[in-house]
């Protein structure tokens, strides 16, 4: 029978309508697959189900009775727990406490009945961790764990409470093969125990393996639902993106010219090791790996953010030493970071100021600001990327995610680099802007740039790259030519398989 039913749910954020009249239903003892492109609104839906965000409209029924979650605690009490996509935890607290924060167990008896019961908390924690067959002490401080382990703790958190509805938002994104196996077992257990599971993932094979039914979102709208048995992967994809896959990644192949960037044995004591590759004019080199595979760290070392322990970098055959980003910029390397809000944009500042920032002296031809010159530059690159804004002095903060990303790419093109590194360039931006970014990558290589594309999205990597490097736990696992790269092979390599 139906445990949970959503209807007419809408939610908009400044700039985006994340959800628009969405419906969804979960049944006991079933796994529901929720699919949709980045930015389709999946996580937003999760936030609404867990009481973190309030829907603008629509109603939520549990066992047919309407509920209104005033706070995440209400949702928790109503028996809904979730593994959130981004790991939101307390780095300075222990594993046990991270799992129980907000609803610590109390002694419940005697004069101290309201006191937190640490022993029970620890015991319970080790029990849950044991179920996941991971060996983490409940007393470890979270800061000491790896990203993957943190994700496991996140999973444990969701399972720590015997809830009737468990939501998993891309839970396997950061897990290794073994850990993924364990997770599948858990899902099976939950099913057997008559719980309802909402499973969000971009990996189709796992969806087909464990899900019973599916729901597709696109641009925050409900597209369709049904049972896994009577749908094919291609049908799902078509529903997700609204057209057929091959059109989504308009790959332009240009002959790969002479080597511009050469990296040899780039290494870091804790994050990555022995990264070597060559990159030629007009080439798009894809870096694939699980979240937390160390790609960003490697790229950031290349860009002078983190100091590598060894390794050499050559631009056009000339060896360069990169001590800080400005060295990299001077050498012709540009890095569009993955975390737009924190590393990329300076949100309160204007489009113009953002675009000119890395080379503000060059633009103004001296220490004194020349607004006309700056605006001219901003206009040139802004228009080249078709940034949609009311005016160039508009704060980047109130642009849509896609347009923010365009501004950032414009910012880095303005430094006219030889190599541009795009780290998760389409993460969480809507379909339209996404296509625009992909098309634009084509233009870049045509204009003779060399592009490094870091992405956790398999279709994007397969669709856009000339060559693919797969990283796993900080090391290069395998290299593919475009021709020989298959989804299966790449995923296997990324999850530590041969």
């Amino acid at each position: 029978m139906e445990i949970l039913a959503l209807s007419g749910v809408s939610k908009s954020f400044p700039g985006v309508k994340a959800l628009d009249d969405v419906r969804l239903s979960l049944r006991a003892g079933e796994v529901m697959a929720l699919v949709g492109e980045n930015g389709a609104g999946k996580s937003t839906l999760v936030k609404i189900l867990t009481g973190i965000e309030k829907p603008d409209a629509g109603e939520i029924l549990i066992d047919g009775a309407p509920v209104d979650f005033g706070s995440p605690f209400d949702a928790w009490r109503a028996g809904i727990t979730a593994i959130h996509q981004e790991t939101v935890m307390f780095d300075d607290l222990t594993v046990a406490e991270n799992i129980h924060m907000g609803h610590h167990p109390t002694l419940g008896r005697g004069p101290f009945r309201r006191f937190v019961d640490w022993r029970a908390m620890r015991a319970h924690t080790s029990a849950v961790l044991a179920r996941l067959e991971v060996n983490i002490s409940p007393d470890t401080v979270l800061r000491e764990l790896t990203v993957a382990q943190k994700h496991i703790v996140g999973i444990a958190k969701a399972l720590s409470h015997d809830s009737r509805i468990v939501i998993m938002d891309e839970p396997t994104a950061a897990l290794s093969q073994h850990e993924i196996g364990e997770l599948y077992k858990i899902v099976a257990q939950l099913k057997a125990a008559g719980k309802a599971v909402l499973f969000i993932s971009h990996k189709f094979d796992e969806l087909f393996a464990i899900a019973d039914r599916w729901t597709v979102l696109r641009d925050g709208r409900f597209i369709g639902a049904g049972t896994i048995g009577d749908v094919t992967r291609d049908e799902l994809v078509t529903m997700m993106v609204g057209r057929r896959l091959d059109q989504v990644f308009p790959k332009v192949t240009v002959p790969i010219g002479e080597t511009v960037l050469e990296v040899e044995d780039l290494s870091h004591p804790t994050e990555f090791d022995g990264i070597s590759f060559k990159l030629g004019r007009g080439e798009i080199l894809g870096f694939y790996g699980l979240v937390g595979a160390g790609r960003s760290e490697a790229m950031q070392a290349l860009f002078g953010i983190t100091r590598p322990s060894r390794g050499r970098v050559r631009i056009a055959g000339r060896e360069i030493t990169v001590r800080n980003p400005s060295d990299a910029i001077r050498a012709g390397i540009a890095y569009v970071p993955e975390d737009r809000q924190i590393q990329g944009a300076i949100l309160p500042m204007s489009i113009t100021e953002n675009i000119t920032l890395p080379m503000v002296d060059r633009v103004n031809g001296g220490p004194v600001l020349r607004p006309k010159r700056e605006r001219a530059l901003a206009r040139r690159f802004g228009e080249r990327l078709a940034v949609k804004a009311t005016h160039w002095d508009q704060p980047v903060a109130n642009l849509s995610g896609g347009n923010q990303q365009k501004v950032l790419i414009a910012k880095w093109l303005a430094t006219d680099p030889a190599v541009i590194i795009l780290d998760e360039p389409t993460k969480g931006i809507d379909v339209g802007s996404k296509a625009a970014v992909h098309e634009f990558m084509g233009e870049l290589v045509k204009s003779g740039l060399a592009v490094i594309l870091v992405s956790s999205e398999l279709p994007e990597i397969l669709g856009m790259s000339d060559n693919i490097i797969v990283m796993h736990e900080g090391r290069i696992r395998r290299r593919f030519r475009r021709a020989e790269a298959t989804a299966e092979a790449v995923v296997t390599a990324a999850t530590g398989g041969a």
Binding site: N324, P325, S326, I346, L357, P367, V387, K388, T390
Partner: protein, 328 residues
């Protein structure tokens, strides 16, 4: 809000007023009120010479407020400025006792401030410790050193010429201190608002990480700003010592908070990234005129501090609450 037009204007319609503009208007109105009320309440207030003399009471603090503005715009804070004054003043005093000449004294004052500021910046950036913690430490340390050196004694043996900096008037009996403040305000205003350096300072204040990812040497900037702040404190030490012609370890006690109050009242967000020199400039006069007016009515300084405290909070709270109401 993103418009769907592809035609993107160069700048916003003039109609929409900037917030900072409104802030400065608010301050100007405030200043007007203060002047009006004071001139009503005291026959002595609106007197050319009195007003000019009253600038003696805040010029040194105002000068420090200028560099403090830059510090706060980059999300930092420096609680040690007043202690730096004490330290610099002590070293000048020792030099004076050793018979140093006026130029050397000034040099020593400035150098001491510069080094103290550099020490702050170095510790903060090298160990990545929040500025507030470090400067609470150096606040005790610097003044502490002053106490250790001076103990319960005072140094008053300054050469005659030294008094010029803090006591002399230029044309139309305008105090030198005040002129110096005006000049420095112009310089700081220009650097912060019309140069690429200023642009980078705002970038750092708004988002240090992104600033670093954009090739700005964030820590070097912070180090320089703290050093500059120290230098300004050194300058203030020269002026103050010259004005009162004596050095005691408890000199300028509690000034750090008054300086920060000036800056915050000037509309500089303690969260960094916003605020203008012109705002601080007006705030200096709001506070200066208010306290002078009250003192003309022989209101004790401690009672004034009630006005100042309330003014500080209200001036921040009122706009927030109004904006919140408008959103409703």
């Amino acid at each position: 809000m993103t418009s769907l037009r592809y035609e993107v204007a160069d700048r916003r319609k003039a109609a929409a007023a900037d917030f900072w503009l409104r802030w400065e208007v608010l301050l100007l109105v405030l200043l007007g009120i203060v002047m009006l009320v004071n001139s009503r309440l005291s026959p002595w207030f609106l007197d050319y010479y009195n007003l000019l003399d009253s600038t003696f009471n805040f010029s040194e603090k105002a000068i420090m407020a200028l560099s403090m503005t830059l510090i706060i715009v980059t999300r930092d804070i420096d609680l040690s400025v007043a202690s730096i004054i004490a330290l610099a003043s002590v070293f000048m005093g020792l030099a004076a006792q050793a018979g140093a000449g006026v130029p050397l004294l000034v040099l020593i004052g400035l150098a001491t401030g510069l080094l103290a500021g550099f020490a702050n910046g170095a510790i903060i950036t090298r160990f990545q410790i929040p500025a507030i913690v470090v400067t609470i430490g150096t606040m005790s340390l610097f003044r502490g050193i002053a106490y250790v050196v001076l103990g319960d004694t005072a140094i008053t043996s300054y050469p005659a010429g030294f008094s010029w900096f803090g006591q002399s008037y230029l044309v139309w009996s305008i105090p030198f201190e005040f002129v110096l403040f005006l000049v420095l305000a112009a310089v700081f205003g220009f650097v912060l608002h019309f140069t690429t350096t200023g642009r980078r300072i705002y970038a750092i204040g708004n988002n240090p990480v992104a600033a670093r990812f954009s090739g700005i040497p964030v820590d070097r900037y912070r180090l320089v700003l703290f050093t500059l702040n120290g230098l300004m404190a050194g300058l203030a030490a020269v002026l103050l010592t010259s004005r009162i012609g004596s050095t005691r370890p408890n000199i300028a006690a509690g000034w750090e908070l008054e300086v920060i109050t000036m800056v915050v009242l000037g509309g500089v967000s303690i969260m960094g990234g916003s605020g203008t020199i012109s705002g601080v400039f007006i705030a200096v006069f709001v506070l200066g005129m208010m306290t002078f007016g009250l003192s003309l009515m022989n209101v004790p300084g401690i009672v004034m501090s009630v006005f100042v405290g309330v003014l500080l909070i209200a001036s921040i709270a009122v706009p927030i609450l109004i904006r919140r109401m408008l959103r409703r």
